[in-house]
Every structure is written in C-alpha cells, then in structure tokens.
C-alpha cells in the first residue's frame, strides 16, 4: 500500500522549506558576523594561489615616460569629500612639511624619526607603474621613493617581526586610516615609500608627503599621508584587528586581486 506522504513528497517539501527559509533570511545570512569566516576562507585561497604564482617575486610591468596618464585620478586622502579636514595638516603642507617627521618604531633595533629631507637623501627607486583601483579604473604614474627593503634592513628587524603597519595622518569619520603588509610584500623590490610623483614632489592629492606603493596589490592598499611605521608580530591588537581601516570595514587584507 502506498504511503499517503511518500519519501519524495517529504524531500520536495524539505528542499522547498530550506530554500524558502534561506531566501527570507538572505540579508541576515550575508551579514558579516555570519558570512565573514566564509569570506576569509576566500581571501586565504586567493592569497595562497597568488603567492604560489608569485613565488619567484616577479616585478609588475614598468611603463615608459610617454605612457604617463594625464590627470592621474586620486581617491581618498586629504581633499576627498569623506576625509575629515585637518588644519594641522594644511599648515604642514603650506610650509612644505618642514616640521613633519616619519617615525619608525616597533620590532626594530634602530628606530628612527626621519624628515622629508632625510628621506630624499636615502637611496631612491623610480618606477613607472599602473595603479589599479578596486573601483575599476587604472592609470599610469611615475613614483620615486625609498625602497622598503633597504630601509627595513638598515633598521635591523628583530626575529619576531612579521608585519609592517603604516599609520596615516588622515581620518574618516574620526577613525585613523591605517594599513599593513607582511614582510614578504614589504621586501618586494617595487615596494617603496614614495615622496615623488611624475618627477616632482608628491602632491597633496597623491598622498603628500609620503605614500606607500606596493605594485602587486590593488589601489586601497597604496596608503597615503604616512607619518608612522610600526613593525609588529601581530595585527590582532591594532584597530579592529584585521590589518587596516578598510579591512576593519569589510575589505580584504590581501588584495592582490
């Protein structure tokens, strides 16, 4: 005798209920507290795959002077509509950052405080590279600056060192912009602290007096207006613990893609 409710009916009803429940709770299911572990898995897969492909540490393509973009766009940083105005920064910019110092501290044997003049006297690397913004646009600019590899060697990292944290002078809704790289990316030959752009002093809209260039990563990792660098063994105790202000707000820390 055939049962009134067959196994097939139960399976279909079960599947329909599950799908319906998922659809109703869709917004909740995709909220960060539930979905973040899954998204972090995606980030780890990307990082592993890309680090494998980049194990020989290739350089990003470098372009010719005649390929420089006209009116290279600028996102974020002082001047952007969502960045808090700062009269202190404006004063520093007006006197060409004479009083500005870059402090480097943390797990280094020789912490320093360098002026812009000091930085300009250090070895410099000039590179013409493509900036890929996470929004989708891309532009080519010439950046001149101190190679991080040279600087970190000179400061003598301690054995526990694992990450380099960059603190910026600008704030978004009161929160300080900051970000970080691991040592592998910090030591890449094209990772520089740029103080020059297109042959001139780095302008405010591109992150004056100092910005980061890391050519294997996407736009939001190219931090502007840096005034402090800290070498640490863990990102967990900084900000919300995800390695940057954007990362604390849903962006991925490893942004090679």
């Amino acid at each position: 005798m055939k049962p009134i409710i067959s196994r097939r009916h139960l399976l279909i009803a079960g599947a329909a209920t599950a799908t319906g429940a998922a659809a109703l709770k869709w917004k909740r299911l995709t909220e960060p507290d539930i979905s973040q572990p899954l998204l972090d898995l995606g980030e780890r897969l990307n990082m592993s795959a890309q680090r494998l492909a980049l194990r020989d540490r290739p350089l990003a393509h470098e372009y010719r002077l005649d390929q420089l973009s006209i009116d290279h766009p600028s996102n974020g940083g002082f001047g952007a509509r969502y960045v808090d105005p700062d009269p202190g920064y404006d004063r520093m910019a007006a006197e060409r950052f004479r009083s500005w110092r870059l402090r480097i501290d943390g797990l280094v044997r020789r912490p320093i405080a360098a002026s812009l003049e000091d930085l300009r006297r250090m070895p410099a690397r000039t590179q013409i590279t493509m900036h890929s913004c996470d929004e989708g646009w891309s532009a080519i600019g010439q950046w001149t600056g101190v190679p991080m590899a040279w600087l970190l060697e000179r400061l003598e990292l301690m054995p526990r060192a694992r990450f380099v944290v960059f603190y910026c002078m600008d704030r978004i809704t009161g929160q300080q912009v900051y970000g970080s790289l691991d040592l592998l990316d910090a030591f890449h030959p094209q990772t520089i602290l740029a103080h020059g752009f297109n042959g001139q002093a780095l302008p405010v809209r591109h992150g004056a007096p100092l910005r980061l260039r890391m050519e294997l990563q996407i736009g939001y990792k190219q931090l502007k207006h840096i005034d402090r660098i800290s070498v640490v063994d863990s990102l967990a105790a900084i900000g919300a613990g995800r390695g940057g202000l954007f990362e604390d707000n849903g962006y991925q820390w490893y942004a090679g893609l």
Binding site: L38, H61, P73, S132, G136, F246
Partner: protein
C-alpha cells in the same frame, strides 16, 4: 486511451516501442557528476553576477585600452543627476543615451560618493546595500573559487568520461544543411521534442553549451585575472592578450551579460521542453519521455 498492459513499464527501457505510441517511459538522463556540476555552477554564477554588479556599481563605466578613468572617454556608462528629489538616470552606449529613470539608478546617500545614482538596485546585488565595494569584492573573490574549481573539474570530467564527445560535439548527421535548417525551425517554433529526439542534445543545444563551456567561461576567468595586479605580474601576457586592462574589464562585463542571455534562453528552452520534467532530470537524473509513432 487504453493501452495494452505490456506498454506500462516502470523500468527504464528502450523508447522505441511502436506498439505503445504516446507512452511515457522513464529514462536516466543526467549522471550524478553532470547534475552536481550543473547546480554548483548555477549557484556560483548567480552569486558572482550579483556581487559583480555590486562591484560595477562603484564605477559604472566601461572603457577600452590599458588605462582609463572618470575623465577619459568611455564606451558605456550608467549615470544620473544625483538628485534624490527628482531622480533621473540614463544609460549611454557609445553616443546613444537611453533614459533609464525608474528602472536603474535610484539615488542613495553613500559615505564615499555622497548622493549618487546607484546603477543596479540593491535587490540585484550582493551585498544588497548600496556601495559596499569591500563586501562585493569579498563575495566575488570567494565564489570565483567555487566556480573555478567546479568548472576545472567539469572540464576534466567532460573529456575523460566522453561526456563532451557524446553530448557537446555535434554529430555528423546534425551538420547536414537540411538538418541544420530543421533544427533552427524547430527551435523557432518552440516545439517540444518527443521520442528519440528528446533523448539527445540537438545541434543548437550542443553549439550553445560548447560556446559557454569552452569559450565564454574560460574567457571570463582570464579577463578577471587581467584586472589583478598580482596576476599581471605573474602572467604579463594577459594584458597584451586582451589589449589592456580596461578592454579586459569591458570584455569581462560583456561576457557576464552573454552568460545572462544564455541563462534566459536556457530557461525558455527548459519551459519549452517541459519545466517539471527537465528539473526532475537535472536533479534526480531521471525524466520521462513520451514515445512517438515515428521512433
């Protein structure tokens, strides 16, 4: 119509049974592997499309070449007047501007852009809020792995198991001029296949699946990689291959649109062939086919 009892056969058996015209016979249509690949692909493509729209919303323009930005010429753009009181939005393709007020481009208040016309509405995007580039990217970068691994394994399976040879490669008899014409007409008339014809993939079906699996999907992966600074350092031939990062981005978007068009046609065909029957086949493996007089 009363059929002889020998025509009622619950087990899968040969369809051609001239003495039982119109009888329904169950048939094992799709292997477990094909069914798994199909549904994992469908789910991942859906989430990739939705998160892709969220990403696109932050810069709703398409360009060609290596570099491009707000102030350089674009071949496609979705924009608007940014006025929340009387919102107007438009889509520009080349030099042609189409009014999309009410359909696309509602105005939302965002932190980064202020009041801005959001090209694709929240219900289509993942995350569903306006302007969550970080979240959109995170979902996209996760689901691409599901799509890629599933697709790569399917490609291997398809060749190794003979699935592509049997189902995707057009059969010689399907390539005769008359057969091609008949197949096109059959499709245009939205006719439901019966008998032997329903058991095999027809020509247009084989061509469509082949195009999607061997051309569109690999190209969408490669154009996606071309937008990655890391991938470009590891595989510098990607940019010249696609004539620049911006052309690759445009192709990536156009390929996604072609995927959507494929899905629309695919769903229409599923309805024409019998929705419940086809869904049953691609889920349980079995469907029923009505034998016809000719077979």
């Amino acid at each position: 119509m009363i059929e002889p009892s020998s025509c009622v056969d619950a087990r899968a058996g040969p369809i051609s049974a001239p003495e039982c015209p119109g009888a329904l016979r169950p048939y094992y249509r799709h292997s477990l592997a094909v069914r798994a690949f199909h549904w994992i692909n469908a789910a991942s493509v859906l989430l990739l499309l939705m998160s892709g729209l969220q990403i696109f919303n932050t810069y709703p323009r398409l360009h060609l070449g290596y570099t491009a930005y707000h102030t350089t010429p674009s071949i496609f753009e979705i924009g608007g007047n940014r006025n929340p009181e009387h919102p107007e939005s438009w889509m520009r393709i080349g030099n042609v501007r189409i009014d999309t007020t009410g359909l696309l481009g509602p105005v939302e208040e965002t932190l980064v852009y202020g009041a801005t016309n959001v090209a694709f509405p929240g219900w289509m995007t993942l995350p569903s809020g306006p302007m969550d580039l970080g979240g959109g990217r995170a979902w996209h970068m996760l689901m691409l792995w599901v799509f890629f691994i599933n697709g790569a394994v399917f490609l291997v399976y398809g060749f190794v198991s003979g699935h592509f040879r049997r189902r995707y490669l057009p059969r010689l008899e399907q390539l005769r001029a008359r057969a091609i014409l008949l197949d096109v007409v059959f499709h245009l008339r939205l006719r439901r296949a019966t008998g032997g014809r329903a058991l095999d993939y027809n020509l247009l079906q084989r061509l469509a699946y082949s195009l999607i699996v061997f051309v569109v999907m690999p190209a969408i992966v490669l154009t996606g990689m071309t937008m990655s600074p890391s991938a470009l350092a590891a595989f510098p031939w990607l940019q010249p291959l696609f004539h620049g990062r911006q052309t690759a981005r445009t192709l990536h978007f156009l390929l996604a649109v072609s995927l959507v068009l494929f899905v629309v046609v695919h769903l229409v065909q599923v309805f024409v062939a019998g929705f419940a029957n086809e869904i049953r086949a691609i889920t349980t493996g079995y469907f029923v086919v009505r034998s016809d007089r000719r077979n």
